[in-house]
């Protein structure tokens, strides 16, 4: 900073530490709750230090599940969430990059129309059109299937725009050089465009993986089959146990497991994550 005022720096650190505290505090409580017996979580307030039932609780939910909520093993839910998150991330990237490729590198009738149709998806989040979307998914026979969980969510204006924006920054001469080098549209895409898009794909993947992993409403309505429970719908089932306080220790262990993969992705791939977040908003 421009001047030397040590106390201002001290205040900055204090505020930031308070910020960290607010950020981390509920997660700490979650972790603590997930390491206690169910009975320990009836006192007011709950303990602030971890208990001794870490392995018990996590073992129980991972391999046999919470009895009160139908008893699906959480391992299975994590697997389903992984499949859905990967499916959504890969699907969105795949169909968006080829659509952007067509829109930038080809001139064809209806090009503008297609562009605006893709743009429209930005204005139609699944939450606002949930009933009719559910209906068409049902009519297509996609209820209770991985396809039903994944396909209706993979249209992406954001990803298409990102790739379009990126392609527009690639000098035209590169396409021309490739044409002179005997590369047709498919070879140019595979040999030049795809490798050049690597960083963008990776950044987008981080964002979309989190998006897919955190899906809640759509899995809730589209799958009733217990074997297709994702970690989010599993949490919902455990919260919704009728007429009783939830089994906090199991619910919190499940919440920990639900948070862990996306947080790991963000922390490990921080650079790509920030890039993806900023780029997709352009």
């Amino acid at each position: 900073m421009v001047e030397n005022r040590p106390w201002l720096t001290v205040i900055a650190h204090v505020v930031l530490l308070l910020g960290l505290l607010i950020t981390a505090f509920p997660v700490w409580l979650t972790f603590v709750a997930s390491t206690h017996e169910g009975t320990a979580l009836t006192q007011f307030p709950m303990p602030l230090w971890p208990g001794s039932h870490f392995l018990d609780n996590y073992g129980t939910i991972l391999f046999s599940g919470a009895k009160a909520a139908g008893g699906q093993p959480v391992l299975l839910m994590l697997g389903n969430s992984l499949i859905v998150a990967l499916g959504i991330a890969v699907g969105k990237i795949a169909i968006s990059i080829i659509a952007a490729y067509a829109i930038v590198y080809f001139r064809f009738p209806l090009r503008q129309t297609f562009f605006w149709m893709i743009f429209m998806t930005l204005m139609l989040p699944v939450e606002v059109r949930i009933m009719p979307t559910f209906e068409i998914t049902a009519n297509l026979g996609l209820l209770n299937s991985y396809s039903g969980l994944i396909v209706p969510l993979i249209a992406s204006a954001t990803a298409t725009f990102l790739f379009r924006q990126f392609f527009l920054t690639i000098p035209v001469e590169l396409v021309e050089a490739a044409r002179l080098d005997g590369a047709g549209p498919i070879r140019f895409f595979r040999d030049v465009l795809l490798p050049l898009s690597r960083t963008n794909i990776a950044a987008l993947f981080v964002i979309l993986f989190i998006y897919g992993w955190n899906q809640y409403l759509w899995p809730l309505v589209v799958s009733t089959d217990p074997s297709l429970t994702t970690i989010m719908t599993g949490i919902n089932a455990l919260v919704r146990v009728p007429d009783s306080e939830p089994q906090w220790h199991l619910l919190m262990a499940m919440s920990m497991l639900a948070m862990l993969p996306p947080i790991l992705v963000v922390v490990v791939m921080q650079k790509l994550f920030v890039r993806g977040l900023v780029e997709t908003e352009k």
């Binding site: 001469e173 050089a177 080098d181 005997g182």
Partner: protein, 364 residues
């Protein structure tokens, strides 16, 4: 190695803009032809039409006698060097050079051999595994050349390949490109806006303006006998002085100034009787003006700026009474301001005469 023929080639864009107005040009095998002109004159468009990157809307382009109007760029067997080099950023130098050959299913050992040869010729041997990012501008330029060479194409196309280099490197690469082209004896078509590049590199040059070839010829012929005032001013550095005037009453001289208003007459080497009063443009190159000549007519001009270049000196002067400027090139060094007024002689052997209305050269 091939001949290239443009026969009445035209380009009209879908929006109606006509960029090329019927170009006729026959390029012989192994010739180095430079298309030169200011930006927007159509030189790049013409080159890109030959490459197949722009469609031909009129006339024919032939390579080795075969019409290529509808051929894909890849099927024309030509190679192009772009202004920004257009190297594939994610590929190594080796991969950049090999890519075109790989796409043509050239055997691996042939590719390796050709890349090695090209690298040797261009001095890129130690850099084959580097990425374009790790190279200097001059090195990237060489890789772009290498990519063209390994293909052993019928013709090299250059689109302002030196514009992104600094002045010193530009001179060096200019020599190198010319040397390589002679060695390989491959037909080359080279686009530039720099008349020095055009003069020094070309076997023949095509001076273009507004989609029309103003003059096609060997550099020194163009220099000695520019066909239009435009070419006269464009070729040469500084360009030719062009002075308005009219043919004198006896047809033996040009009276300077609009309608001869300035009154000074300059004798013509060959009289033009019967053209009395015809408005003309008198041209003389700065290097052909004489200071304090022993004989002949002189004009007194006022020096306004002196540019010492070392080997010679350029003086920018004004003709009295009419505000027209006259640029004078003097050999050696001349202190600025030594004489504010110079007596300048016009060497009759180096006078050029153009019609004022059409700008066309008037032959003797």
């Amino acid at each position: 190695m091939a001949t290239v023929d443009f026969i009445g080639v035209e380009k009209t864009y879908p929006n109606g803009h006509k960029a090329i107005h019927g170009i006729n040009l026959n390029i012989t095998d192994g010739e180095f032809v430079v298309l030169v002109g200011p930006s927007g004159c159509g030189k790049s468009t013409l080159l890109r039409m030959l490459a197949g990157l722009e469609t031909v809307t009129g006339g024919e382009i032939r390579i080795d006698g075969k019409v290529v109007n509808r051929l894909e760029p890849a099927d024309r067997d030509i190679a192009m060097v772009f202004q920004n080099y257009a190297l594939y950023p994610h590929m190594s130098v080796r991969e950049n050079m090999a890519y075109g050959l790989r796409n043509r299913k050239t055997p691996v050992d042939v590719i390796e051999k050709r890349v090695a040869e090209a690298a040797k010729v261009l001095g890129l041997e130690g850099m084959l595994d580097r990425k374009p990012k790790q190279l200097s501008g001059g090195q990237r330029q060489r890789v772009a050349m290498g990519r063209a060479i390994v293909r052993e194409p019928k013709a090299f196309l250059f689109d302002e390949p030196l514009s992104n280099l600094d002045a010193k490197l530009r001179v060096q690469m200019r020599v190198e490109i010319r040397r390589l082209q002679r060695e390989l004896n491959t037909t080359a078509i080279y686009v530039t806006h720099d008349q020095v590049e055009a003069m020094t590199m070309a076997d023949r040059l095509v001076v273009m303006r507004d989609g029309v070839a103003q003059q096609i010829g060997r550099p020194l012929d163009v220099y000695a006998k520019p066909r239009t005032t435009y070419v006269a001013a464009f070729i040469g550095s500084p360009g030719m002085n062009l002075l308005e005037g009219v043919i004198s009453a006896d047809g033996s001289a040009v009276v300077l100034g609009k309608n001869g208003a300035m009154g000074r007459s300059i004798a013509l080497p060959v009289a033009r009787p019967g053209e009395t009063g015809r408005p003309v443009v008198l041209g003389i190159r700065p290097e052909h003006l004489l200071i304090n000549p022993q004989q002949g007519d002189t004009v007194e001009v006022r020096s306004v700026l002196t540019e010492p270049l070392g080997a010679d000196t350029i003086k920018y002067t004004l003709l009295p009474g009419c505000g027209q400027s006259l640029t004078v090139r003097l050999p050696g060094t001349h202190p600025s301001g030594d004489t504010d007024v110079l007596a300048v002689g016009f060497d009759p052997a180096h006078l050029h005469l153009f019609d004022e209305a059409t700008g066309l050269r008037l032959e003797d």
